[in-house]
């Protein structure tokens, strides 16, 4: 059988960063093709090229679909041919009904008036097809995430579908819903629909996939025909992570001292779904001069853990013990956490870290205005000096400290955020994805700053989804999955495979039972 879709030598780069290099990828009709890889391996980029989100001309290579070369200008072009993508973040309108959502863009109508009987009839058909027993009138907001996913699929089926792309479809589903969804996928296979399944869950992939392609750093590194050979999980994991250490990391001079932060039995519940325990009685510690990494997949609960420690800025019903330098303390508010010597550098600098319309100076001093404001009146010269000092020390590239932070590059913005927190003179810094969206040169500078902080006797916690980064800069790496620590390695002993295996082992042991990941809010980009 010939391929229904063939992508040949696809390359794509963003502002100097090569996201895809010469990727070849093909799917046959009636085939479930799984696409696996680490965060940032290029899976989503490849699918955006395929669906026309990145139009023809913005990438190199050719797309051949059903025997003809295709040049999609936008997503409508690919949809017209029956290539339908279902994103990880569901794109349904919560306060509209199932029927309204399914027929949002092209409702059956007569002279511009929506034909409601027809809408209902077809909605019922589609719901039966995906196995969802709900009235077409039900509002989306009244459905669970699993059912919402099925509505998305029904919506896809309302169009002429030849190829279905599912991006992490089961990330937020429980076991029963996941199983139902995978069964649907297998039913589509019978109908000759090609499917591309992006998933981190190798057990699922093993269950349904006909073919597996592994992407790493934008390249195809492995291609496995599941019918020709047995699926070896180890092989997949190795392919996913085994890369040459292209990044370089600065030399370190490690001097580890007394414990500075200790957390015991920490437990946090979801603020919107208070019955859901997001952080499950974990214990964690950092010593002076130590850099501890927290590894894990997106949605593992790392950000939630950090924010709950930082003055309870995330979650409800938080319990557990925090000790700072051996003394038990309560940190009921962010201000209290800052006073106690904790700093949290957020993952999302634009939304949570900076005031983009304000200048560099105001951003740097924001968390420690007291230092430049004796008797609550700001000494503008002292403030300017402090800000200029940080600008020089951190090598922030800006015209002057009066420049708006919104105009700076990602790396320089991150340095402004780091300056802000250094100014609070913290004992422990938690850095959440400190190098996300930063170019290689600026990354190196950030690593140097992290080393300096540790050498100055501060405890540093680095949350990162880039495993080589953790391996390069950490003394110890804790692996978090589904709200608990599932592995811990010394920096010298850790490898990407060990970390990935710890995660995967845990994913499998909890099965799909845990309603994890995507819904946890805030942690996805």
């Amino acid at each position: 059988m010939t391929a229904m879709l063939e992508m040949r030598n696809v390359s794509k780069s963003f502002a100097g960063v090569q996201a895809l290099r010469d990727v070849n990828f093909s799917v046959r009709a009636g085939q479930i093709h799984a696409l696996v890889g680490e965060n940032g391996a290029g899976k989503s980029t490849l699918m955006k090229v395929l669906s026309g989100v990145y139009p023809h001309g913005s990438y190199e290579g050719t797309i051949i679909f059903e025997g003809e070369e295709r040049r999609f200008r936008d997503i409508n072009d690919s949809e017209a041919l029956g290539i339908i993508i279902i994103h990880q973040e569901l794109a349904l309108i919560p306060l509209m009904s199932i029927a309204e959502n399914i027929f949002l863009s092209h409702p059956p109508s007569k002279f511009g008036v929506i034909d409601r009987d027809e809408v209902y009839r077809r909605t019922r058909e589609l719901l039966a097809q995906v196995g969802l027993k709900e009235s077409p009138d039900t509002l989306i907001t009244d459905l669970g995430v699993g059912k919402q996913q099925l509505v998305e699929i029904a919506k896809a089926l309302s169009k002429r579908v030849r190829m279905l792309i599912l991006d992490e479809p089961t990330a937020s589903l429980n076991e029963a819903d996941s199983a139902a969804l995978l069964e649907r996928l297998m039913a589509f296979r019978e109908q000759g629909i090609g499917s591309i399944l992006i998933s981190h869950k190798l057990n699922e992939v093993a269950k349904v996939a006909d073919h597996i392609t592994v992407l790493r750093d934008g390249r195809t590194v492995d291609s496995i025909d599941c019918h020709a050979e047995p699926i070896q999980e180890d092989r997949i994991i190795r392919s996913m992570v085994n890369r040459d250490m292209a990044h370089r990391f600065p030399e370190r001079n490690v001097k580890i001292g007394e414990p500075v932060l200790d957390v015991e039995n920490w437990s946090v519940y979801h603020p919107i779904h208070p019955e859901r325990q997001v952080i499950k009685n974990v214990s964690f510690g950092v010593k002076r001069g130590e850099v501890v990494g927290i590894a894990g997949l997106m949605g593992a609960g790392r950000t939630e853990f950090a924010m709950s420690l930082f003055g309870r800025s995330w979650g409800t019903n938080i319990s557990g013990i925090i000790r700072l330098e051996g003394r038990e303390i309560a940190l009921p508010s962010v201000a209290a956490a800052i006073d106690a010597g904790l700093a949290y550098v957020t993952e999302d600098r634009k939304q949570l870290g900076l005031i983009l319309a304000d200048d560099v100076r105001k951003n740097i001093t924001l968390a420690s205005l007291d230092q430049v404001a004796p008797s609550r009146v700001i000494d503008d010269i002292a403030e300017l000096k402090v800000a200029s000092d940080y600008r020089n020390r951190m090598r922030i590239r800006c015209a002057d400290v009066y420049q708006e932070t919104g105009q700076l590059s990602g790396g320089n913005q991150q340095k402004v955020v780091l300056s802000k927190w250094l100014m609070t003179d913290p004992k422990v810094l938690i850095l959440d994805e400190p190098t996300r969206g930063i170019d290689v040169g600026a990354k190196y500078e950030i690593y140097c700053i992290i080393n300096e902080l540790a050498e100055a006797g501060r405890g540093v916690v680095v949350i990162s989804s880039e495993m080589p980064e953790l391996l390069g800069i950490c003394d110890r790496i804790c692996v978090m999955n589904d709200g608990a620590f599932v592995g811990e390695f010394k920096g010298s002993e850790a490898t990407q495979e060990k970390i990935m295996r710890a995660i995967m082992r845990n994913e499998r042991s909890i099965g799909n039972a845990a309603p994890a990941a995507a819904e946890m809010g805030g942690s996805q980009p």
């Binding site: 201000a335 924001l366 609550r376 700001i378 010269i381 020089n392 002057d400 802000k420």
Partner: protein, 396 residues
């Protein structure tokens, strides 16, 4: 710590300097242009001492409320109830002083406290319950308009005690022997103010210079100081040739200075701007965002009460219609003055200039005999135009 400053190429420095200052002074120049325009087309009536004094008296309550509204807008909110609150407070003041003969000082303080309580009541819902301020204050607008009617039972209530009237219609006492029509005390205060302003800015400049901070070019500084001093002197001269400085102008100036200082130089001011600029980032920097939002509404309540008292004292009677539509002028003043509807941006000086632009236009158009109908049309277009220019400038 290094004291190094950035040295940019000379031409770029001056270029960016002029550009930045054009934006800062753009509204002020518009005000001057509008004043000149009306001065010419009214045949010199606009700047006659009597008219100028009236201009101040007519707009004082708008300026006072604009100071509070600016802070509310900077935090990213809006207060639609200020007009009704001002009217209600005027009614309560009349009830206390006229009907119950309460001492005017006591009544004055009680009214300000009531304003604070009203602000707190509204701010509570906005800050802690996250109910959109538009809705809360829209409700407040209806409630206090109704309460003002109820308190006055649909009637006007007056007159106020003579001392209370002085709040709006009084002038500072003359301590020096009069020289013709000129009031020397007022003139002296004006001269001292002009000197003080120039001295303060010269001192600030030399202080910055001594720390190696880049300052504005000397010529520019000198020119600015001379223009500022002359403007203050000329203005006080005009006022002093009528009846001297009105009490309410003194109160207003003190408030402008106070709020200017608070917003630019104090921790709480900086934090208010941070809340409006990015509430999440501010809260993760240890700022108590909810409490600050609450406090801006309390502040707004107090200033609305003060404005209500000034207005009642000026009319010498409390009427059920007092305060009607004030909120629109106040909000327009803030936006004309460059405040951003998204929060985080806006200056006290801008809001004051915005209020004066509205005031001068009202006054000038009335002198020209333009009907109230077209006055509103023109004011609306000016508001839209000013904000369009601002948005255009920011995009550039």
């Amino acid at each position: 710590m290094t004291d190094k400053t950035v040295s940019l190429p000379e031409e770029r420095r001056h270029g960016s300097f002029i550009k930045n200052n054009l934006r800062n002074y753009g509204m002020l120049m518009s005000l001057v242009a509008i004043m000149l325009f009306f001065q010419v087309v009214t045949g010199g009536t606009l700047l006659q001492p009597l008219n100028l004094t009236n201009l101040v008296l007519q707009n004082s309550y708008i300026v006072i409320m604009a100071l509070g509204m600016l802070l509310v807008i900077v935090t990213g909110h809006i207060d639609l109830s200020v007009g009704s609150v001002a009217g209600f407070i005027g009614a309560v003041a009349a009830l206390l002083m006229v009907t119950y003969k309460v001492d005017y000082t006591l009544a004055f303080i009680a009214c300000l406290a009531l304003g604070a309580a009203i602000g707190a009541a509204q701010g509570y819902w906005v800050a802690y319950f996250k109910i959109p301020s538009f809705i809360v204050t829209l409700a407040g607008m209806l409630v206090f308009k109704g309460l003002a009617l109820a308190v006055l039972q649909g009637q006007s209530l007056g007159p106020f005690p003579a001392t209370f009237q002085k709040l709006s219609s009084g002038f500072i006492p003359e301590l020096l022997p009069e020289a013709g029509t000129l009031h020397p005390t007022s003139m002296l205060i004006g001269a001292l103010l002009a000197l003080g302003l120039v001295y303060a800015s010269a001192k600030g400049r030399s202080r910055e210079q001594s720390h190696g901070i880049e300052v504005e070019p000397y010529g520019f500084f000198l020119g600015k100081s001379i223009v500022l001093a002359c403007a203050v002197l000329y203005f006080t001269y005009l006022i002093a040739t009528y009846r001297g400085l009105p009490n309410v102008l003194v109160i207003m100036s003190a408030l402008i200075a106070l709020y200017g200082f608070v917003t630019r130089r104090t921790v709480i001011g900086r934090q208010i701007y941070a809340v409006g600029g990015n509430a999440k980032a501010a809260s993760l920097s240890g700022i108590k965002t909810e409490r600050l939002t609450f406090l801006t509404f309390v502040n707004m309540g107090v200033l609305a009460a003060l404005a209500g008292l000034v207005f009642a004292a000026r009319l010498n009677t409390a009427t059920p219609k007092a305060g009607l539509g004030f909120e629109l002028d106040v909000i327009a003043a803030c936006f004309i003055g460059g405040a951003s509807a998204y929060g985080g941006v806006g200056r006290v000086g801008g809001a004051v200039v915005g209020a004066m632009i509205m005031g001068v236009m009202n006054n000038g158009m009335s002198i020209l005999g333009i009907g109230i109908d077209y006055q509103q049309v023109i004011k609306g277009l000016v508001l839209l135009g000013a904000v369009c220019i601002d948005v255009y400038n920011q995009r550039r």
